[in-house]
């Protein structure tokens, strides 16, 4: 595949959901190997944009391509890892072990031995190797979120789409999780699109920051964000300072 073609390309993407404008002429290109934080307030269209990229939401106008093909036909072309928002709990007695759920992130028709090895390695990455045989319904919210991360990582994705992945994680693992993303980005050139409403936290990790409020209101580095007069006008000087100050106080 041509590496010059952006792995994600949205052109004039407009999405209406039940008569409400969720995205308004969004144009965005994410080159291969980029690490983008998609931020914005609640209801700004972040999840809708992610779902449009995944082909789960049909555009009202415009189009979105992943790996050079329309989003709804992406799956065979690009290996995608996806962590959805942690807002839906599985039923308490859902009959599946952690190992089985992680294996659903693998490509179809894989040999059983390959499946086992990959699942073990993904569970190792998120620190849950000891819970492989545990029923998914008996895990805590944070553990379940780690399982979702393992499911996203198990297929060695070229593109990782993460929707508020750190919400349920405890502070210690959250740091480890961001380190893991940084390592994947650095060593495997994994393209990462990380959705968060917590601008200050993700700004310190991502290479690029896209601020969305139905439209793309800002697209640049975190440092550029902190100097942007448009963002000062949007947030107010004090709020912008707080966000950027949090960035300065990042953990070493």
């Amino acid at each position: 595949m041509n590496s010059d073609v952006p792995i994600i390309r949205a052109v004039d993407l407009t999405v209406e959901l039940d008569g409400t404008l969720a995205l308004d002429s969004v144009t965005l290109a994410v080159p291969r190997g980029d690490y983008v934080a998609l931020v914005g307030p609640n209801g700004s269209g972040k999840t809708t944009l992610l779902r449009a990229i995944l082909g789960l939401v049909r555009p009202t106008a415009g189009h979105v391509e992943v790996g050079g093909v329309p989003a709804e036909r992406t799956a065979p072309v690009v290996r995608i890892g996806y962590v959805p928002q942690a807002d839906r709990l599985p039923m308490p007695r859902f009959p599946a072990t952690v190992e089985e759920i992680v294996a659903t992130g693998l490509p179809r028709f894989l040999r059983a031995s390959d499946t086992r090895d990959s699942v073990r390695s993904a569970l190792d990455q998120v620190g849950l190797a000891g819970l492989a045989q545990t029923p998914i319904g008996s895990l805590s919210g944070g553990q379940r979120q780690r399982v979702m991360l393992a499911r996203a990582l198990v297929g060695t994705p070229e593109l990782l789409l993460l929707d508020e992945p750190a919400t349920a994680l405890d502070p210690a693992f959250r740091q480890r999780f961001y380190d893991l993303l940084a390592e994947l980005h650095r060593t495997q050139a994994t393209t990462i699109l990380l959705v968060s409403h917590d601008l200050g936290s993700v700004g310190q990790y991502a290479r690029r920051l896209v601020y969305l409020e139905q439209r793309v209101r800002f697209d640049g580095t975190f440092e550029e964000f902190c100097r942007s007069p448009e963002m000062t006008a949007l947030f107010g000087e004090f709020q912008q300072h707080l966000i950027c100050h949090q960035h300065d106080a990042r953990p070493v």
């Binding site: 789960l56 959805p84 839906r88 599985p90 599946a96 072990t97 759920i101 659903t104 992130g105």
Partner: protein, 272 residues
């Protein structure tokens, strides 16, 4: 109530053997499909299709056509319609099921009142008449059970992904729409065949009780599906046996056997 020696005599009758074999097959199919529907919180689909099938049987009897030949295609169409409505209403599947089911039931009542002369036949489809099951229906039931089993165990991970997180499954290339349609069609076919077993009012029980009972027993996906099928087959055997022994209606005995197995399993689990 029959003496034990009479029971052996009854079991040697071909109509009893057909009832048992047909019941086992429908039970197995319902057990497998029921687990999938249960995990997607869609068990009402079985209830809705049962009611709709009753309406189509009413139509067939009014026209003088074979009931199953009319109920089968109409129920498959209704099942696909439910799926389409559920998508159009962004997952409000229960509302779609309610609409299709009540229209089907109303149609059945309407046609019954117009026809007048076939109330006894319609009664058999409301509450089932497993002892009247024909050889062809037994073969059809086993064919459906085999198809359902192959469908699920050929790609169990697709079904697990579909049941656990359909959005993720679709985004990562699993054929979710195809699985939805396959399940809709096979559920409709199984429900229509199940009309003979327990009738349109009780057919949903075969889709609800076995998975609910199986989930008391096991926590792994493949084992849960197999357990659900085994529970359904055990309930059919128990219900049919009790019905023959005590001369109570078979459909009621099968439903109550399922309830007894469910409560019994819950009790054993609690005692451990």
């Amino acid at each position: 109530m029959h003496a034990p020696s009479d029971m052996w005599n009854l079991l040697s009758h071909a109509f009893v053997q057909r009832a048992w074999l047909g019941g086992l097959a429908i039970g197995a199919a319902c057990g497998v499909l029921g687990m999938l529907l249960y995990l997607r919180r869609s068990v009402l689909v079985g209830e809705g299709l049962g009611h709709f099938s009753f309406g189509s049987v009413g139509l067939a009897l009014l026209l003088g056509w074979p009931p199953l030949a009319v109920a089968l295609p109409l129920s498959v169409l209704a099942s696909l319609l439910v799926l389409k409505l559920a998508r159009a209403t962004h997952g409000a599947g229960d509302a779609a099921v309610g609409m299709v089911a009540t229209v089907g039931l109303a149609l059945g009542v309407l046609l019954a009142s117009i026809g007048g002369g076939y109330r006894i036949d319609i009664f058999a489809y409301l509450f089932g008449d497993i002892l009247a099951i024909q050889t062809g229906e037994v073969w059809a039931a086993w064919a459906v059970a085999a198809l359902v089993t192959v469908m699920v165990f050929r790609q169990p991970m697709d079904w697990l992904a579909w049941a656990f997180d359909p959005g993720h499954a679709q985004a990562t290339g699993r054929p979710i729409e195809r699985l939805d349609k396959l399940l809709a069609v096979l559920t409709a076919v199984t429900v229509v065949l199940g009309l003979r077993l327990v009738g349109s009012l009780l057919v949903a029980s075969l889709l609800v009780f076995p998975p609910a009972t199986a989930l008391w027993i096991t926590t792994a996906f493949r084992r849960a599906i197999v357990t659900s099928a085994v529970v359904a087959m055990a309930a059919v055997t128990l219900g049919l046996g009790v019905s023959l022994w005590t001369d109570v209606p078979t459909s009621a005995a099968i439903v109550l056997a399922q309830a007894a197995l469910h409560v019994g399993t819950w009790f054993v689990r609690r005692m451990r």
